[in-house]
Symmetry: D2
Subunit: 363 residues, 4 copies
């Protein structure tokens, strides 16, 4: 099993939920970058459990230790390794879960693939906890992107059936993205937030969970990033985003909405703005044509499935007895993973964009 | 620019729409496989222009020549190279297009990226014509997959606002997929087909185009294919599918529909069937959990934007004069690319799945 | 089987000796480069058979056709594909060779690996003929390197027991390298050439073959190319050079001579030259420390084994009868492959260096 | 900067000599393997400093902590991360070294490449200390190879001008390799060992250092491992070996000796042995033809330069003043790194071979 990605900026993720530590390795960073640890910890806090009442009550200090690649707070150019120790790991008896795979978790597929040797404690290597390292790595990439004038952000677009568009894909600004990225529950309309929180609370009270959708954006990208065919922005971004647990859909710009459009409406017609820059009246293509950035904001939608761990009894199989069984999952779970997934997805997008940027344009 | 993809089965695509030839290179194939040229040509015919009145009237013989990797019709294990000569290339004057980039085409982004040196004749390397090689490569991969009991197929799910579900994601069979994959306009309901054709004809008459969506499936996959995080089935499949021009959304199983579900409904509860196989009552996860196949059918949805080449006047910029301009695109265009894109997407899916299969399970 | 290499500049080689054509694919080239076809053909001529009496008498026109990535002689930035048709393929009966693998050829190993399906006609994919495409690709890379002030070249260092050092590794110049690279039998001392030719002729008359060694160099490289550990100049260069048939040793600078040195003599002590550049008094490290270029000339030595095809009877096994056998190889063979291998090795070095250069320094 | 390698088995190395820890990440291991920690620690001890009087007196406990990928001593299939804390890091003032790069070290090239931000304490990421993680990773790979009947080993071939062949490349056995690999100073002839130790002591007394050469071998490899061209055994093995500091030459079988041979002597003629296996009378090809294993022992020679850190005054440049200078290097250094490099090279060979094995043969 490989858990690494990237061409020029390479991310490798390691660890298991209840092992000694999780972490990640980030290769290809430039030397001489002073790491903004406050910004890094602020992003970690958005993802950390127990910060918002919509999330699991598991508490983790989530203090990242940079054990290589940084001296006196400045990158050396060598691979940057981050370790995050696991602390709040309750010593369950996991025999029940090993025997009775949880529906819509990886338990069954992993048991077959790894011959039962995979670590199932807290989900092992499949746990959402491993995304903590991605957030830390992404925070560093965001900082380098910012020095190049590129800002990444995102917001909660839907929770269950409640939807709220927090920005305009044609005119979204860096300031708007930064404001959103400082929030634990990231959207702009307090009324919509209240409704979304109510959806989550309703699911929680029924020992259930609920899915949602987020919208990511990046502004300040140069024209010409990415390639036709298999190294396009869409390929690279979807490739990394599908690495985040619970992601089941990734689309760009109008995405699936494009399918019911006519070309005359879908096409992003162009003009010169006052500064002589080429701009488009609409942004259905989400800032990408032919795999290459156009200079308009990059817009990505991501669908996130409901947390599969729910408190209700569920039908499954008993791999030990070979008979059908019923499972009730104990423990602390997020009734909705969307708010905590958002900073992870933003981080992953930042890593992908820095990789594309680092691949350069000429030669 | 790189136009290659894959770990163990590697596909590289080359050529330009109006150059001497297009083609592809397929590395990593097993030796000793007898190529079924009839099956290969049948897939080529589904994608070829001029076969169905919904498509462009450009005619291309599209005869693939295998120039390496095959002796006496059998694979040698060496890289397999396919060449398809370009013939029906009309000698336009392309100065107008070079100066006035077409909206929602890659023209503007590519002009910036390649400093104007990119081939714009017929779209150059960005042309959908390059997918002909992918169909040929995919046909070979489909054949090898079939020997392993795996069948890939798909159907048109929507054209504009007309939708038709042609199979059940829980119970879809190899026979159903093969029947669909033998059609030029692949779906099961003649009434829906009539409505979809009417949508396309309506767009054509208005010098417009229309988008759509396809649903792909694979049955017979073993449990345990793919990995958590970045080498999962979703990552690998979305990575290659986004290499096909006009794709703007890729989702798995319930996809974006997952976002509004509760976990209690979304979770695929499991049972043993009569043969002792683990099955699920539903297939919202599209046959993948934690990036790994579950043994249920793999289900992928793909959104395809309307052909950006339309006959109506459109606003754009004149890169030569630096002023706003109006463009009318001449030439032969598909009012809807969905029917011809489907065999390409099926081919790409087959290549990705063979790559995952070839990566093996143990060690 | 994969036959491709490179990170940013990617080379893929395809074809079989007696198939319709051989060729290669070169991805990642910059756009806008005017190809110097004369320079390309001049390099092809150095490798082509039948040009020098030390070589096989097989005649091949070896005319490369660029079928994609170039319009009007200028690179478009799209993958560049080169095809070279095979013409002088004599229709032998190959059953004898299939049954009786040639000693020190890949015949036996390949028969096992590919289950007998590999193309054995003329060596198939293992043939030295496939290096023609590498020479063409390398010529294009050499041209781009030259625009960056970097010159690649080499000379015959030994044939059998005759040795001749044609340049000084500390002070070798671009002009010296270019003069050597214009020769069919590349070295500087006519007396040594005469002795080397005599070695080859002696081997030929005895139906035997003889090995040798070449020295490659590159000047004008910037300080800082390459990386510590696995992406260093030595790794990248040796990786591609071992892709050339008959190469059995690759070393840098003093190479194996380093093993018997003391550090006090081996170390390359440094000074500022008159222009303020950092230079070294010696160049035992061959222009690389810690995997990174120092600005001194890059020096690579390559050992080339004697052509294994010889006219003398040899002991082998009969894979059909399962008994020991004796083989006499018919046909046209090079009594010494070193002169023709040299331009291939120079080309491969150029491709590797352009790849390193294209990977850039910052981010 | 990337410090990772491998296709199916991927090794990434991180850390800096005087940072908090060094370590490595090993992806792609099979699940269910019980790690033999005693064997792992025995290999670590061979490389560790301070164990033999020929080595530096720096003491490091070198206790590897496996922080992911192993539960209860058994691999889970998830990425395996190893951390080794740094302890004996003396707090020097490094300003002198930063200003005056050490001859034949990476100091100057790295200073230019990383703009002075690279960690120079103890060599930073360039330090031989980083190879400790490679030994640990290699020990795990050796164990898995052994389960497949493959044994890796090696011996000191030369130190300075003293040479000793410890085994026969045609008939070397697993038992011989295992016996050698249990030694700190690995060769078979006590008289030769005495002479080699005298060479080292002589260098040490003169504040000098001395180079050497090692011979590596692997037995039990199946026929058919590796590929023609760029994924051959020679490419993969040389690629990883050049990642080990101080390696300046890598050759296979007769290597550079091949260059002066005639084909009639160089060719490895074949026969059936009593068990019906195809064997060769000689093994000049080092067990590889056309990049593919033949079933004969794999033989690799590696040249190692003298430790560049010596106690004698050396000429260098002062990067701060821009003037020539003289440097005397303080501190603890190995007068000969060859004995400690050997277990690292064996480990690297094991990792490369497991990668090739894991890539499989069919499909």
């Amino acid at each position: 099993m490989k858990s690494s990605i990237g061409e020029k900026i390479k991310l490798s993720v390691f660890g298991e939920s209840h092992g000694p530590a999780i972490g990640c390795l980030l290769e290809g960073l430039p030397s001489g970058v002073k790491i903004d640890m406050d910004a890094l910890l602020a992003q970690m806090a958005r993802r950390a459990p127990g910060r918002d009442k919509t999330a699991t009550t598991r508490k983790e200090a989530d203090i990242p230790e940079i054990i290589s690649g940084v001296v006196d707070g400045v990158t050396t150019g060598a691979p940057l390794a981050i370790i995050i120790k696991n602390s709040d790991t309750k010593s369950h008896n996991y025999d029940n879960l090993r025997d009775n795979p949880r529906p819509s978790h990886a338990d069954f597929a992993a048991a077959v693939k790894f011959g039962g040797a995979n670590d199932i404690r807290g989900g092992g290597h499949f746990s959402g906890r491993l995304t903590a390292g991605i957030v830390a790595a992404g925070a560093i990439c965001r900082q380098i992107l910012k020095e190049e004038g590129i800002t990444v952000g995102g917001h909660i677009l839907t929770i269950g059936n409640v939807a709220e568009t927090s920005f305009d894909p044609v005119n979204v600004t860096a300031a708007q993205l930064e404001a959103l990225s400082s929030k634990l529950f990231a959207l702009n309309n307090p009324a919509a937030e209240e409704l979304m929180r109510a959806e989550i609370e309703s699911a929680r009270l029924e020992a259930d969970s609920v899915g949602g959708c987020v919208e990511l954006a990046a502004v300040g990208l140069p024209v010409g990033l990415g390639n036709p065919m298999f190294f396009g922005v869409e390929n690279v971004v979807s490739n990394i985003l599908y690495g985040i647990p619970a992601v089941k859909g990734v689309s760009f710009g109008a995405g699936f909405g494009y399918a019911s459009m006519r070309g005359s409406r879908a096409n992003d017609q162009m003009y010169y703005d006052d500064e002589g820059n080429v701009r488009a009246y609409t942004n259905n293509c989400g800032g990408i044509t032919g795999g290459i950035t156009t200079g308009m904001p990059l817009i990505v939608n991501v669908a996130i499935k409901p947390t599969p761990s729910i408190g209700q009894p569920q039908k499954t199989v008993n791999l030990k007895t070979g008979e059908n069984s019923t499972l009730v999952i104990e423990g602390r779970h997020d009734p909705c993973i969307v708010p905590r997934a958002l900073p992870v997805l933003e981080a992953a997008l930042a890593i992908a964009l820095l990789d594309l940027l680092a691949q350069g344009d000429r030669v």
